[in-house]
């Protein structure tokens, strides 16, 4: 693990420095030329929630896994990327995350609560194990901490649940346990990879509220990966829209929802059913995400974009078009606000 000698003067939360900043992070699978994650730039401040949105296969999850150092090193290749986390600099190209950072300062919860817990061990033991990995606490201290955490994530009768096995819990409860396990060491950053996708709608809302409440209590930053725009509207502070491994638009949540500038974001917004307004056929974004093998040169959305023109053969840079609102499109800013109905 290489640490930069230069430490930022301000630490997270107290100053303007974001808790996590990723610059020019690219990732490709070995044997392929095209980056599946291409020049990703994101930042998250303490207490904020960044939502990374995009359809399946756009590189959301793989980015998160890479940041946690969970991808097998013999499969991926990281040509470029730098990360600042809690004022420390990490060179993503030469190092993977220190295991001590994982689960301690930075935690992750997964999409599938049904399969994300070890079926052979009791809930209490699994959470205690996470505590003991990162602290010098004794077995009983760790159990007290685990119990307290289960209580905090809203599990009823935590004493009893501690002794139960994962298959005895419902999906929503398992996701709460996952959250308890992830947050038991008070991480400053939580990465949640589609945490509500596998749950039904009422439980989804409960889990999102829980994440938000815990965030209010601890001031942690959150990266939430989702394809559900309803979730984004519910919880996001800032949004990054990803398409085929690239961020095509990012900004405050209000900017993205009220004034989407990238044709892809527009497409996403118009594919959400609405309760108000005239009833019309739902629009979809035609086509599918291009595969790595036949990624178009220039703008990667070109093959599906209704506005595509000749200049799109050149890759558009991410440009500022408003306060903290960036778009990668040659046609931005759009001359008029396009009605999304």
């Amino acid at each position: 693990m290489e640490f930069s000698t230069k430490m930022h003067e301000k630490t997270d939360g107290t100053g303007t420095d974001p808790l996590l900043r990723i610059e020019d992070f690219s990732l490709r699978f070995q044997g392929h030329d095209v980056c599946v994650v291409d020049e990703l730039n994101i930042s998250v401040s303490a207490g904020e929630t960044l939502c990374i949105v995009g359809e399946s296969g756009c590189g959301k999850s793989v980015s998160a896994m890479a940041l946690m150092g969970l991808l097998p090193k013999d499969v991926i290749d990281i040509p470029d990327g730098e990360m600042w986390f809690e004022g420390q600099s990490f060179d993503l190209t030469t190092s993977t995350l220190d295991a001590h950072l994982r689960g301690n300062r930075m935690a992750m919860i997964f999409q599938e609560p049904m399969t994300s817990l070890n079926p052979s061990f009791r809930i209490g033991d699994q959470i205690s194990e996470a505590v003991r990995r990162h602290t010098d606490s004794t077995k009983s201290e760790a159990r007290v901490r685990a119990l307290e955490m289960l209580h905090r994530v809203g599990i009823t009768a935590p004493q009893q649940r501690m002794r139960e096995y994962p298959h005895q819990l419902s999906g929503g409860m398992r996701q709460r346990v996952m959250i308890a396990m992830a947050l038991v060491n008070d991480p400053s950053l939580l990465i949640a990879d589609e945490p509500t996708t596998a749950l039904d709608v009422t439980i989804q809302a409960q889990i999102l509220n829980l994440i938000r409440d815990l965030q209010d209590q601890t001031g942690m930053g959150t990266i939430l990966i989702t394809h559900d725009l309803g979730v984004v509207a519910e919880i996001a502070t800032t949004v990054a829209v990803m398409y085929a491994g690239q961020i095509v638009e990012s900004g405050r949540v209000a900017d993205i929802f009220d004034d989407p500038q990238h044709p892809y974001t527009l497409g996403l917004m118009s594919s959400v059913p609405r309760l108000s307004g005239p009833r019309a056929r739902l629009t979809t974004v035609p086509g599918v995400v291009p595969t790595i093998a036949n990624m178009p040169k220039g703008c990667r959305f070109r093959s599906r974009c209704p506005f595509a023109s000749e200049q799109c053969a050149v890759r558009p840079a991410l440009i500022d078009i408003g306060k903290a609102h960036q778009v990668a499109c040659h046609h931005a800013p759009l001359e008029q606000v396009v009605s999304v109905q």
Partner: protein, 287 residues
């Protein structure tokens, strides 16, 4: 067999036991196995003659009140030899499978979890060993090591190892892809800890089933090696060597071949039924 099923949970244990309890053939297998184990363990306590004591006045006597299962060609009590022979057979079955597990499971875990060149090396060796038939390999190894019961057990154990390497490797490959292994890494657990706490318990059920079935195979292998003179050495009794002597007297004293034959048949049947029952009981698909 799915691997996401808890191996050692209380509720699961109860459910497994319940399913096992109502599995008639499995219970029959269990009873047979327990019967032979009890006989083998209590051999020193039973009121039977010394299995090596000869009686030239009672050579090749048919079963009678004095000798329930008859006597052999130098007047030894066949019942006594059968009971002591059970020790050799069961010991060979259990010890050789233990050897195969101790070698095969760690190698399988290494091959499956780490992949790469270690997987390539281990898998190629496994395939090479599997290319030779189990019994032929055991005979070759036993002949190489020299005739004794211990060497026979080592030979059988090594011959049975590739089955466990291959089974374990396959199970690890599927367990490794489970989300809970990723989540273990996400909380920062070390690789050894993940192997011991997350991989091993979850590959166990199919390995246990295979181990039970392999005990049956190993018992046949021990009997075969002893039959060929490569296992238990005279005068110590073994079902295999008893069969070897008995084949010379099939017309005059058929009981000499009958009893060891029946015993081998029953104990192998017992372990096979038990293994099948375990497989059904541990199979999460049939709740």
């Amino acid at each position: 067999m799915s691997v996401s099923e808890p191996a050692i949970s209380h509720r699961a244990e109860n459910r497994v036991w319940k399913k096992f309890r109502y599995h008639r053939s499995a219970m029959l297998g269990g009873i047979l196995v327990v019967f032979f184990i009890l006989i083998a363990l209590t051999a020193p306590l039973l009121p039977i003659p010394d299995p090596a004591a000869t009686d030239w006045g009672a050579v090749r006597k048919a079963p009678s009140a004095a000798h329930w299962l008859g006597t052999d060609e130098i007047g030894r009590d066949v019942l006594s030899r059968m009971i002591w022979g059970a020790q050799a057979s069961l010991l060979a079955g259990v010890v050789s499978v233990a050897i195969a597990l101790l070698l095969g499971v760690p190698l399988g875990i290494i091959a499956g979890y780490f992949g790469g060149w270690s997987d390539a090396a281990i898998s190629r060796c496994t395939e090479a060993l599997l290319a030779a038939p189990f019994l032929i390999l055991a005979i070759a190894l036993a002949a190489f090591l020299g005739p004794s019961l211990t060497n026979a057990m080592i030979a059988i154990g090594i011959s049975a190892t590739p089955i466990f390497i291959r089974l374990t490797r396959g199970q690890v490959l599927s367990v490794k892809a489970e989300d809970y292994v990723d989540s273990a890494r996400a909380i920062g657990l070390s690789t050894p800890k993940i192997l011991v706490r997350y991989i091993f318990p979850n590959i166990l059920p199919p390995v246990l089933v295979q181990a039970t079935l392999t005990i049956a195979t190993a018992i046949i292998a021990e009997a075969s090696l002893s039959f060929l003179g490569l296992g238990q050495q005279p005068p110590d009794p073994s079902w295999g060597s008893m069969l070897n002597t008995a084949k010379n007297f099939l017309n005059q004293a058929p009981w000499m071949a009958l009893w060891p034959g029946i015993a081998i048949f029953l104990v192998v049947l017992g372990f096979n039924l038990l293994g099948d029952g375990l497989r059904d009981a541990l199979d999460p698909r049939e709740h």
